[in-house]
Symmetry: none
Subunit: 402 residues, 2 copies
């Protein structure tokens, strides 16, 4: 369907703002969900006058990770475009990946007598971690035909990118995580999961050996654990598909990384939602499409903190008038998935969405909540359909067929 959409794009000077309250959807605790408890008069009023519904990022019953959650919002088929965690991590740390790259998430860890004592090396300070990573980069530059790029991260985290001279076979990065996710166990042996990954697995073994050689005598960060081995996908760019000059406004690296992967601008924005809205306002003339990512709604949900999740949505409600004042032709407010405090994690529940434009009915929902959105004019629909709806409401799609 993205091909069809691409074939009927027309440009105009409309603005589309998509606000993603990460993990927005919830579940009732004591009878009401986070959205139902929150005091959100601005969102309620907007929902009354908007097209509302619920969207399913991957499919019914499927709990999406952040990658598929966002790719679906941007209109990409989440089954076709499966983005590895290593790729997301590396992009989030500011590395521009090439199609010949394999990216890996890494942790410094403490190992004693062959067993993992601390998977996070005592959460060593970022500054110290950075110095180790830089030292590794000085000493390790190439393994076999792979250029090795070390990318410093926060605390114990960093990423490694293996850059090859030519594109790799499909499956080349299908390697088991070496992090067993538990202390007291040895690291998992580097294990290729298909024949195509055998070559890379050998290089990874050599890499681990070379790194350990250098850091084995350090106090805490004396080893590394690797996971999320993944190839950079050859995914079409957002602007190329939709003709929208676009920007991601996000404080967290991973979401900027995801946006960069599809060619969005994603400059570093620090602070919280206030600073994000400042950025939106200051750069409003420069772009057609704005992806505004509000992280903390999800964080509180993951913590099982029902009250603070509701309070964070209330804080967004208070800042919403600043977005409304910009009068975008299309304003979407939704999430990338649900994160019910009850479940302390992502869930499969469809995500409430409202779309405000001059070409909707409205009048079907009394407030902005999961149960009210069921009654909305969009019904329950696959998330990938949200971008075509956004484009249609911005009058950016021509007729299909004669």
């Amino acid at each position: 369907m993205q091909d069809i959409v691409k074939s009927i794009i027309q440009k105009n000077d409309s603005k589309i703002v998509m606000v993603v309250l990460d993990g927005l959807g919830g579940l009732p605790m004591h009878g009401k969900s986070e959205l139902e408890v929150a005091d959100i008069p601005n969102l309620d009023m907007l929902a009354k006058n908007s097209a509302c519904g619920l969207h399913t990022p991957v499919s019914f019953g499927i709990t999406p990770g952040s990658g598929p959650g966002h790719l679906a919002l941007f209109g990409y088929d989440t089954i076709k475009w499966q983005i590895g965690r290593g790729v997301l991590e590396a992009l989030g740390l500011g590395i521009e990946l090439k199609k010949t790259d394999i990216a890996v998430r890494c942790n410094y860890a403490t190992i004693e007598n062959g067993l993992i004592k601390d998977r996070r090396a005592g959460r060593i300070p970022t500054e110290k971690s950075r110095k180790i990573t830089e030292r590794l980069q000085k000493k390790i530059r190439k393994i076999e035909n792979a250029e090795v790029i070390f990318v410093p991260g926060m605390e114990h985290r960093f990423a490694v990118v293996l850059r090859f001279p030519a594109p790799l076979e499909k499956g080349a990065a299908d390697i088991m995580d070496t992090d067993p996710q538990k202390e007291g166990k040895p690291p998992v042996k580097v294990t290729p999961m298909c024949a195509q990954a055998e070559k890379i697995a050998k290089i990874i073994e050599k890499l681990i050996k070379a790194v350990t050689e250098i850091i084995r005598n350090q106090d805490t960060a004396n080893s590394i654990l690797l996971r999320g081995f993944s190839q950079a996908p050859d995914i079409p760019h957002f602007e190329e598909v939709y003709g929208l000059k676009s920007v991601a406004i996000a404080t967290y690296p991973m979401y900027r990384g995801l946006a960069k992967l599809i060619g969005m601008d994603a400059p570093a924005v620090t602070g919280g939602m206030k600073e994000e809205i400042d950025f939106l306002k200051q750069n409003y003339k420069k772009y057609d499409f704005f992806f505004v990512h509000i992280k903390k709604v999800d964080s509180y949900g993951e913590d099982g903190n029902f009250k603070e999740k509701a309070a964070e949505i209330e804080r967004f409600d208070r800042i919403l008038p600043r977005i409304l004042a910009l009068e975008p032709q299309v304003l979407i407010i939704t999430g990338d998935h649900s994160t019910p405090s009850l479940l302390k994690g992502h869930s499969w529940h469809p995500v409430p969405v409202l779309l405000s434009s001059a070409y909707v009915f409205g009048g079907l929902c009394n407030s902005f909540s999961e149960r009210e959105c069921v009654r909305g004019e969009f019904g329950i629909f696959p998330t990938v359909n949200l971008m075509p709806l956004a484009l249609a409401n911005a009058l950016r799609l021509k007729k299909f067929g004669a």
Copy 2:
């Protein structure tokens, strides 16, 4: 899915009437849509006792042309079966196309000093246009290996069919329109859009040259503009798939053409909806499936005439009892797409539908409107699913699987 449906067809003597109020769906102006404003007691009563919902002809956000809108209603995959405008036009003018044909929509135009002065040659009278077209046919019968068929149309319009001795390659008709859609410009040079179209492009060039040679000294119709180059699709017939002897009752050529393409009978019916219902009644014993096309609802929507669009729906409401009196086993009332007066054109909004049969719930909608249909038992669903629902409600489908 059409293959599955075909495999479980069973015949009986039930009647299915599908009334298509072209461009039925609307949007609120001053708070209410055309359907919400219209005084339609018969439709409201019927909606109360019917299965209601909204259907999406192509996909969310996609505005369908008349071709995909109708093909979806007839249960055909609109992505798989993309029908060119030239094909629709030629069929509508009464030509039966063969699989080796390429059809083109043509206009007589006025050109001065190489620039288009009038794309419609002053909307020359149909009688005059017909004479010119007949003269062209007499003088031009063959170009290279293509038989050339000139088909007279209304006013400045006509069609050309190139009939080849053998089936053509896919892409053979991918040729750019020569009509730039603007006066003051020269006609677009005949441009093949892929290698497979180069041969036909050469023939088209020769055709234009031959035609211009004959008409160049006329006052107004001194040149031609061509668009919608398209191959006749090898599409399965409606009766072959569904086992329904079917007839299209339509006053406009294009809709009859579309129906003929899938093998429906489509005799010329002149007049308006009254004459169409007369025809329905007179031929009720002869067919199993009746596609009744009411054009003017769309026409008023395209004109942005909210009041007359509502009035046209009211006129249909008044005539509806004559259809109800026939007591078809299944009666469907819907549109092929929405044409909100607000947008003065086709739109992407899902189309309200009601299906009346002995096997529905009803009781969910208080009237027949877009917002009431959101609450209906069909929900929001792809238009291609309407035919299986019609067949099921006519008890014309066997169980699937053991």
